[in-house]
Subunit: 262 residues, 3 copies
Amino acid sequence: MIDAGHHLEQMRTTAPLVQNITNYVAMNVMANVMLAAGASPAMVHAREEAAEFAGLAQALTINIGTVSPPWAEAMEQAASAASGAGKPWVLDPVAVGATAYRRDLGQRLLALRPTVIRGNASEILALAGQGAAGKGADAADEVAAAEDAARSLACDTGAVVAVTGEVDFVTDGSRAARVSNGHAMMPRVTVLGCSLTGIVAAFAVGQDAFDATVAALAYYGIAGEEAGGAAFGPGSFQPAFLDALYMLGADEVTARARISEA
Amino acid sequence: MIDAGHHLEQMRTTAPLVQNITNYVAMNVMANVMLAAGASPAMVHAREEAAEFAGLAQALTINIGTVSPPWAEAMEQAASAASGAGKPWVLDPVAVGATAYRRDLGQRLLALRPTVIRGNASEILALAGQGAAGKGADAADEVAAAEDAARSLACDTGAVVAVTGEVDFVTDGSRAARVSNGHAMMPRVTVLGCSLTGIVAAFAVGQDAFDATVAALAYYGIAGEEAGGAAFGPGSFQPAFLDALYMLGADEVTARARISEA
Amino acid sequence: MIDAGHHLEQMRTTAPLVQNITNYVAMNVMANVMLAAGASPAMVHAREEAAEFAGLAQALTINIGTVSPPWAEAMEQAASAASGAGKPWVLDPVAVGATAYRRDLGQRLLALRPTVIRGNASEILALAGQGAAGKGADAADEVAAAEDAARSLACDTGAVVAVTGEVDFVTDGSRAARVSNGHAMMPRVTVLGCSLTGIVAAFAVGQDAFDATVAALAYYGIAGEEAGGAAFGPGSFQPAFLDALYMLGADEVTARARISEA
C-alpha cells in the first residue's frame, strides 16, 4: 500500500532542487507551490544554460503551455541531459492536441523518455494519438475515458502516466491506482495542474516514480480539500491552498489519502 | 437600458474560450479573473500557432504591455484571423504613447479593426494621436479629457472604445455611456485593467459589442466595490476581488450597476 | 543615523517611475509590491524600446533571473542609458554563479556601474569571484560569509552592495550597516528578494544610495514582520505583506527599524 505521508516526508528531507521549464502563466504560482511544500524550485529555460543547469538540478519538469521555438530547443536539450544522467523528468503536455505545433513537439519530447507524464484527460488522449482538437488548457474529456490511452502511453514510453481530474488515474502500464482527493474549486484556479507537475517531480527524486506520483497527487488533493473548506471563492482558495501545502504533516496526509490501487 | 446582469448571465452560459495574447505581468491574474467570472481563457501567442488557435477560440484579446517583435507578428496574424472570421477581438494598448515602437504597433493593430478598444485616458489619447508621451502603464490624464478622442477613434475605426478610470466612458461613435462602479484601491493592484480586457472579450461573444462592454465594466466595478469593502490594502483586495467575480449573481449586478447612457 | 521612515516618506512623495527588466517569475509580484509601497513600476524590456524608456523613467532595475540573449542586450542598453543620464540603477544578480552564461553577463553588467547591487550571500560571493556554483535562486551561504566579498565588490565597482538574508549587510566600501528586520516566512515565498530590488531603486531616486538602501531594507523587513504575525503560512503571508507595505507609515517604520551602523 502506498503511504502518501511517508513519501511527503522523504521529499521534505531531500528538499530537492527542481528545474522547471514551464509556461509564463504558471511560473510564479508553481514556484510558490513548490516552496510551500518544501522543495527548491528553479525556473531556468534559456538555451544558453538549460542543459548545464540540468546537471545541477535533481529533477526537471517540462511544460509546453506557452512554448515557442527557442524554448522548445531548451526543453529538448534539458530533457536529454536529465535522461542521460538518470534524473527524473516530468512532462506536462498542456493543450497538446490544440495545434499542429504542439502535437509535433509533444512527440519529440516523448522520444526523450519522460519519467512521468501528467496531464488532463484531453491531453493524455491527444498525446496517445486518440484525441480530438482540445479546448485550450481545460479538459473536455473525463478521466475515465482516458484510462486506456494512459495505459498504452505508459507501455509505449516506459513512463508513469497520471491523468488528473475529479478522480485521478495513475498507471505505469502494469500497476494502476486512483486518487480521489481534491476539491471542486481547483479547476477555477489557473495553473494548479501545472504546479502539481512540480510537486510530482520533487516527490520522484530518490523515490519509486509510480508510488511517488500517487502520493504527490493525494497530498495535493488533500491540500485542495483543506483550502476548499476555508475559501469563499477561487480568490481566497489560493492563499489557503499554499498554507495547506505548507502546514500538512505526514501523518495527516497518510490518514486522509484516498488511494485505491487497481 | 443596458441590463448588466443579463449580459453576465449570457456570458456564463456561453463560457467562451478566449485566446489572450497579453503581457507577462498580467497572464496569471487575467486567467484567474476570467476563470472566476466563468469564461475559459487560453494564453496562446507563439507565431507558430497563434492564428491557428484563433480559429478554435471564440474571441481574442491583444495587449501590448510587454510586446517584442515575435509577439507583434503573432498579434497581427491572430487579429487578422479573428477579424476575417468575424470573431470579436479587443485591443488593450498598454502605454502605447510611451515609445516609438509602441506607437507604430498600435497603428498597425488598429488597421486590423478591433471590435473593442479598452485603455486608460492616456492610452486612448495617444492612440487617437492626441497624447503626450505616457508615464508607463499608469494614466496621467483624466477620463473626461479623453472623451472626444474616444469618439473620434470610434468613428475612424468602427470599434467600441472604452476609456476606463474613476468613471468609465464607452462609445461607439454615436452611442455613449458612463459607468461609475469601481473602487479607489483598484489602481493600486497591477494588471486589473489588463484583466478587464479579457472580461470585455468574453462578454462580447454573441452579444452586442457596445452593450456587452458597458455591462462588463459595471460587473467588474461592482466586484471591485465588493472587494474594497472587505480589504485592508491592495494585498487582501486581490483574493476578495476574485471571490466577488465568482460569487456575484446576475440580479445583484443588475441592481448595483451604475450606468448612465448619454 | 539613518531615519528609515523619512526615506520612505520621500519615496512616496516622489512616487518615482521605475523601469524594471526582471524575470518572468517576479514581474507581477514586483509590480504589486512597488504599487503597494507607493512607487510607479513599468515592466519594459524589449530591445526596441528599453533604452528609450530608460530616458522616461527615474530609475532602473535589472534582474537576470530568467535572462535570454535578447533580454541581455536590452539590459545592457538600458543600463548604459541610465548610467549615462546619472539615474540610479540596481542590479539583482539572481543565481549568477549557477552557469557560465550568468557569470559572463554578470561581469558585463558590473562594468556598466550599477548604483546598488542587491543579492543573497551566494550571489554576492559569485559576483565577487569568490563563490562556488550556486543552488538555483536560494542562498547556500550565510550573509556573514559574504561581508568581505561585499566590501571588495563595493570598492571595485563604486556600487552600494546589499547582501540580504536573516540579517542584511549593506556597504559602500567605507560605510556599512546591518538591518535585522524581517521574518522567517519570507524565504518560503518566491520573488520577495527580486521585488525588494524595486523598492531599493524607488528609494534611491533623489536620495543618498547607501542611506536609501538601508532604509528600504528596514521598511521591507518590517512589512515582513507585520505579515508574519498575521499569516498561517506562505499563502496568507502574501496578501498580508502587500497590505503592510501599503499601510505602514513613516513614523512606525522609523520606530521599528533595527539598523546598526558599523
